[in-house]
Symmetry: C2
Subunit: 507 residues, 2 copies
């Protein structure tokens, strides 16, 4: 009991600080041991649907646990029920989707955030949560070479930690609509948003959420523009589509350019996209260009990858996820804009119970006006710990090592005549497949690749995922495997083992 | 270094499991010590705007820390920079807003979630994350007495952990619009959402996000219905407004009923609201009733508070925040619906790279289709730990103790002739104020209350917030103080000290 000296806890079995200390040590030990034995687990969970639920009691417990000792059962269940039901995203042999690469410093930051349990919705509800966030995001802007006017120190820009890239896209889209409205577009306009066929599904989802798209099949209000053979948006098609929409009385208001697409790591030509917007009436009527660099943005810490930033002068907002490839555990999306006023215009609602002198003074940032939810965790702590622990040098070394491993993997694929690299490697992402056999129909090639994927994933020794690359410029659609290198602990030996397993698993 | 035996880490200074273990213990110790000394801090931060930022380096570090020893500086900065910049939400003398009451078991769950670092966006990306979430939410439905058809075991219902009540309201509103569309309303209808004047600001914000409201001042598409003297929505006014909107060609599609309003803890008459919807054409055309019980929902663990559930048969979704008053650290909103299909219709988008056999089989839940973001943390762990550690008995004792403390506080206010209880106590929330002096104009009474609030908050000994209760039924608007009892460690002695400070601080 927390306070048994006074007996004032109403009989609620809280952990005392000393009990929390002991259990906390034990949980940290469990996690450290988990880290040490990560390579011993099948990477992809092997349970069948219902396999976890069947081991859980059907009804909640009436009685609580008797203090610290009662936790034996919980630790046992972690081993017996939870672990077999996990796909181990932190495994060094996890190459699926994009990474969600956590790190020790980030985990400590998340722990501290939970332990402090403060709310950062307003500056006044915990000034340190706001001011640390602003500062570490300015640090990150400096580390990634973002333009000055995306920083909090600029006249009109600023940044915020969003939960995810999906939320970042939604917030940008809503700010864009509000800005277009203030440029004179009627509120009930037929709004049109643009992205490439390779854009993340969250662009369509954002349009559905904010009412621009009328359902997932609405191709009138979300225009997915065809790409070049390298899967970057074709700006001349964007321009033609914008003009057609304008002629039809619709209101083009938002373009999402992708830098580092989920399928193949492709980049849209951001500069050309911005020029299209400037050339058409779209820009002058408030049109917004958002850059979704969810995964690839982390590579900007290396000057050699700053070509990804070409054309930033035409960009209104950019977001990337330190929780993907910058050693910060989910959730942590870094959202930058040069028009913070547009966000506030779209998202500010101030009821009486949240009014306070600091906010009224205008001297502080209230981040709840920059995001979908009201409440917010103190997520800046984990980013602060990561930036301090690794330093700029450590972060650059981290990205460079993974890109080097991607190059190695790409070279092994290229040297094996049964395989081919499907599109040029993007940073540490390699899309590849078994080549078509002579005379083999495309569906049969796809099927052999699908079987290979399932075979290696079922082995438990590695886990990778797939995509279908769209038919483009005469080439048919292709089912390809994605080797996304990015787990924090992945070393060359893991990538080599993955390649050897793939090469030896061809049917 | 993680793996210095092989030297394969590319020079990236990761923490080894052993280094993580040592630092983790130290962080746990820091948090346990923080818990033990919580009462020694000023509850509300006393820093001025810029006071935290001024102590932080302007530029990010080029060099990282030399392993574990390098963290001395971080722990020092926690004391010198972060702590003074915090408002201590976990302080037993924190009575502001609504509580965000964490607990030891929840913090351990958040730590574990970060340490595992798995993504629960799809069943297949970590089956345990999905199946544990489904089960603990069914447990919670049982504990709170929610109808059977809100559980995953029902034919059409189900539940999910959202981040916040704001997101829950947004998701419900978007599902509602999609359902109304499928009932025949044109996609470009003039949609109208309804709530009381006491509804949380997130209802308006959700309407702005999803495009129903055209800006924060739009009273045509978000109708805030006047209330009775107890601040519950007046159903006859709701009905009249719905009929006026229908007559004007608008489409009423969504009502948010509040149970436990932020200002005063008021409850809308849910049964009567549902009956209005059934009586008008609104229900038959797909109209949706969402109950926002963000704070008060936790009290449903006690059978004596189940009157809050009256009228649930007309309700489509209900959400409350275990992160407010059920000992689970932010973020954790429990969202229940009896029409899960409506959510999926509104939110499902499935790109190729997320397709998988388990999802295609229909045998599993993919929670990304139930929420705004794609990615999600393994938040069920913390709720599981809380439910197991406290058990149903412990949770009931927790709520009952806080309600008892609210009753105590209310009685002290009532007995002091200088004060008055402004509206009847709601659970553990007491709205009160200094009474008007004879002949005192309302603004002067408000000013004396404002001064009292600022005086006690500036003392650092407690922190409470205020609201303005709307003018209603002839009574003028009133500035009142809100005593929201709900911090995990609050005991009678803290509530008594708060009252004594208030009583002795009257100017």
């Amino acid at each position: 009991m927390r306070d048994d000296s006074t007996g004032g806890d109403g009989g609620v079995p809280h952990l005392s600080p000393e009990e929390f200390r002991k259990l906390g040590h034990r949980m940290v030990d469990w996690i450290a041991d988990y880290q040490a034995r990560l390579e011993s687990f099948p990477v992809r969970s092997q349970v069948a649907p219902g396999g976890v639920a069947s081991k859980l009691p059907e009804h909640p417990p009436e009685e609580g646990l008797a203090g610290e000792a009662g936790w034996e059962g919980i630790f046992k269940d972690l081993e017996d029920i939870i672990l077999p039901g996990l796909t181990h995203w932190q495994s060094p042999s996890f190459f699926a989707y994009f990474p969600a690469n956590a790190s020790g410093p980030a985990v400590l930051g998340e722990l501290l955030s939970a332990g402090l349990g403060v709310q950062g919705m307003l500056w006044s509800t915990s000034p340190a949560a706001t001011e640390l966030e602003t500062r570490v995001l300015d640090w990150l802007a400096e580390l990634t070479g973002l333009p000055e006017d995306f920083r909090s120190t600029s006249a009109t820009g600023g940044s915020v930690i969003q939960g995810t890239a999906s939320e970042a896209t939604l917030v940008a889209m809503v700010a864009a609509r509000e800005r277009a409205r203030r440029h004179g577009a009627p509120a009930d306009s037929e709004w049109v948003a643009y992205a490439s066929t390779q854009a993340h599904s969250s662009v369509l989802k954002a349009a559905m959420l904010c009412g621009v798209a009328h359902g997932a099949e609405d191709t009138t209000h979300v225009r997915l523009i065809e790409t070049s053979a390298r899967y970057g948006m074709r700006p001349e098609l964007l321009e033609r589509t914008i003009r057609e929409d304008l002629d039809a009385g619709r209101v083009p208001f938002f373009v999402c350019a992708t830098v580092g697409s989920t399928s193949s790591g492709a980049a849209d030509p951001v500069r050309a996209v911005g020029e299209v917007m400037a050339r058409t009436p779209m820009r002058a009527s408030g049109g917004w260009l958002h850059v979704d660099a969810a995964w690839a943005g982390a590579a900007l810490v290396c000057p050699e990858h700053r070509d990804l930033l070409d054309g930033m002068s035409g960009v209104d907002s950019l977001a990337f996820n330190p929780h993907k490839w910058l050693l910060t555990n989910f959730d942590c999306n870094a959202f930058y804009t040069r028009d913070r006023k547009a966000l506030l215009d779209a998202l500010s609602v101030t009821p009486e119970y949240l009014r306070n002198a600091a906010s009224a003074s205008g001297a502080v940032i209230d981040y709840r006006d920059w995001q979908v939810p009201l409440g917010r965790r103190f997520r800046a702590l984990k980013l602060w710990f990561v930036l301090r622990h690794y330093g700029a040098k450590g972060l650059r070394a981290h990205i460079r090592e993974h890109v080097r491993l991607g190059e190695r993997f790409e070279s092994w694929v290229s040297e094996d005549e049964r395989f081919e690299v499907a599109v040029p490697r993007s940073l540490s992402l390699v899309c590849f497949r078994l080549k078509p056999l002579p005379g083999e129909p495309p569906q049969a090639t796809d099927a052999r690749n699908r079987e290979l994927l399932e075979r290696v994933n079922a082995s438990g020794k590695m886990f990778l995922s797939h995509t279908v690359l769209h038919a483009v410029e005469g080439a048919p659609a292709r089912y390809v495997l994605r080797m996304a290198i990015g787990a924090s602990m992945t070393q060359e030996r893991h990538v080599r083992a993955a390649w050897e397993l793939l090469a030896s698993s061809v049917g």
